[in-house]
């Protein structure tokens, strides 16, 4: 058994998208409370979305704003009070202050620690587990060995991002509003690409994500048999087709892996993924490299010599 999840920021996306590939949904966009229709800043919409998702048999987590200031705490507290009566399965926070707030409010929900919370060690995961954190997104900068170390040395479950743009940072400013004229409704859901020479990034307003899509399809079997079971696809500000297609590709692959089928990558899916990716693929930091590189046999990826890998493993032993 495994779990595949993604973020669904608005009711419109929830209603218009076939989410059958996903077991669970993070409701809301954690990068900005002003995203039009953001489920994590509109309690009325959240309730409607939650019941709709529950009807589809989804696990539902509320995704809170990642970087709240003092002025945000009152509305977040009201949102949490409202949420306390809803059948949520958990709350995602990116911020240790919100872990404290949820604990203080004595809310009955498990807490998931988001990727902006900078979790680097199993000892911190253990500490946060005592405060109600049950699942963690490790910092994306960690390598596969390090993420696996946290998974095997802490009581929290590790959520592994297997596809989609990597969250690289979040600002207090909305750069889209700064550099474009228009309202949030007019601007927010369009793609904003930035380039510097051959490098690309995507901007979501306050948050900046990688230009390339992290893609772990060719390592999925290995990850599964290492013991990873909780997977996540990052789809914020992606198209309906992206959310549906990528989800379906990974869901089918995971089902095959679960059945012990070695040849789990459907060749047609490689073309589909390429079609949906504007600037190519990367593996993130999993192989101790800069996040933008792709190590592997697919997508024209780079190979690492076995000697190079072994040398690093020796020097990394405790």
């Amino acid at each position: 058994m495994f779990e595949l999840s993604t973020h669904i920021p608005t009711l419109r996306i929830l209603k218009e998208t076939d989410l059958s590939a996903y077991h669970s949904l993070y409701l809301g966009d954690p990068t900005c409370p002003h995203v039009p229709g953001n489920l994590s800043s509109h309690p009325d919409l959240l309730k409607e979305a939650l019941y709709l998702a529950k009807e589809q048999g989804k696990g539902c987590y509320l995704s809170l704003y990642a970087e709240p200031r003092n002025k945000d705490l009152p509305w977040i507290e009201r949102l949490l009070e409202h949420a306390s009566s809803l059948p949520l399965d958990g709350i995602e926070v990116h911020n240790l202050g919100l872990v404290r707030l949820i604990k203080k409010m004595n809310l009955p929900f498990p807490i998931h620690l988001g990727s902006f919370a900078n979790l680097y060690t199993h000892e911190t995961a253990k500490l946060l587990h005592r405060m109600g954190v049950t699942k963690v997104f490790p910092n994306p900068e960690l390598s596969l060995e390090e993420i696996n170390y946290i998974r095997t040395h802490a009581p929290t479950q590790v959520i592994l991002q297997i596809h989609g743009k990597i969250p690289l940072g979040i600002s207090e400013n909305c750069f889209i509003r700064e550099y474009r004229e228009g309202t949030c409704e007019e601007l927010c859901f369009k793609p904003y690409w930035l380039a510097s020479g051959k490098w690309t990034l995507k901007n979501l307003g306050r948050a900046t994500v990688s230009g390339k899509d992290l893609c772990l399809i060719e390592y999925l079997g290995s990850l599964y048999w290492r013991g990873f079971r909780t997977f996540y696809i990052q789809t914020l500000r992606e198209s309906k087709r992206y959310i549906e297609t990528i989800g379906t590709i990974y869901r089918r692959a995971l089902e095959k892996i679960d059945q012990g089928i070695d040849d789990y990558i459907d060749q047609s899916s490689i073309g589909l993924m390429s079609e949906l990716s504007s600037y190519g693929f990367c593996n993130g930091y999993l192989f101790r490299r800069s996040g933008h590189r792709y190590i592997g046999r697919l997508f024209g990826g780079e190979r690492i010599s076995p000697l190079e890998v072994r040398k690093e493993e020796w020097s990394y032993e405790e």
Partner: protein, 284 residues
């Protein structure tokens, strides 16, 4: 020495043992430094663990505190190595540790209760709840984010002081724009190299959280599809004009950041700050 001088601290970096005599002659209250491989700085600007005792002894002889910056985010596989290193150096006269990892802060609190723990700038404390999270962990001081407004600093300082927790503000440093300081992977996304750093073997150079070395990718020329350039360069700031408001807000300590700064320049900044503090005595 005025009441104000006793109430507020000036903290400055020390990057080389050769610089120490010059910095000890400055009108400052505490010096912070890192040991090789474990602070968010260039490796050349860190000390050998064998220099820690001398550093602390000389600092104390001039009535100044020695603060160890141990704020790099290490690998989960290095947790024990980090702890063994701290156990080796903390008894050598360290007065306080600046750290970013909550589990490490708790471990120091439990094993070395006489040593002050400061929540590093990199913890990105932006709200009361976050500040109090660190207070619950047992920190003595929270270094506030440079992204906070004066009003927010005041709210945090007043609230924390009721629990006996101090606040610190970095008056000279670099304010990031593309992302909040403390949450940035832009540099490591484009360029990151594993380097051997001596006693600590692996350093993820290019990751500001894991090595302190940031390649300032944000400062490149970033253009959108319409050809418009997005200005993301970080800004060096010197917020001395905010001092009166910060003093009124109850901020306890003022740091001058930037390890590797020429000591003469550092001395000029310290003099300006001390003078401004004396001018503002009437605010107390």
């Amino acid at each position: 020495m005025s009441i104000l001088d006793k109430r507020c601290e000036i903290i400055v970096p020390c990057s080389h043992i050769e610089q120490l005599p010059c910095i000890l002659n400055m009108d400052v209250d505490a010096l912070y430094f890192g040991i090789r491989g474990w602070s968010r700085s260039n490796r050349e600007l860190e000390f050998s663990i064998f220099q820690v005792e001398e550093f602390c002894r000389k600092s104390h002889s001039k009535g100044k505190k020695a603060l160890l910056s141990f704020n790099l985010m290490f690998s989960p596989m290095e947790v024990e190595q980090a702890w063994l290193t701290l156990k080796e150096v903390l008894p050598k006269g360290i007065d306080g540790v600046i750290c970013s990892d909550p589990s490490l802060a708790m471990r120091i609190r439990d094993s070395f209760p006489h040593i002050e723990i400061h929540a590093s700038l990199g913890t990105l404390v932006l709200s009361l709840e976050e500040a109090h999270f660190w207070g619950d962990i047992g920190v003595k001081r929270v270094v506030l984010s440079p992204h906070l407004t004066l009003e927010e600093i005041q709210e945090l300082s007043f609230s924390l002081s009721s629990r006996g927790i101090e606040t610190e503000v970095m008056l000279f440093g670099v304010r990031c724009r593309a992302t909040l300081l403390g949450i940035c992977r832009m540099s490591s996304y484009f360029d990151m190299n594993l380097e051997n750093s001596g006693l600590r073997t692996m350093i993820w150079s290019g990751s500001s959280k894991r090595s302190g070395v940031c390649y300032r990718t944000c400062a490149q020329e970033w253009k959108d599809a319409s050809g418009k350039e997005w200005l993301w360069s970080p800004q060096v700031y010197w917020d001395i004009e905010k001092l009166p408001y910060l003093l009124q807000a109850g901020v306890k300590a003022f740091k001058i950041g930037s390890r590797g700064m020429d000591w003469k320049r550092l001395s000029t900044l310290v003099k300006a700050l001390r003078e401004k503090m004396r001018e503002e005595e009437s605010y107390v």
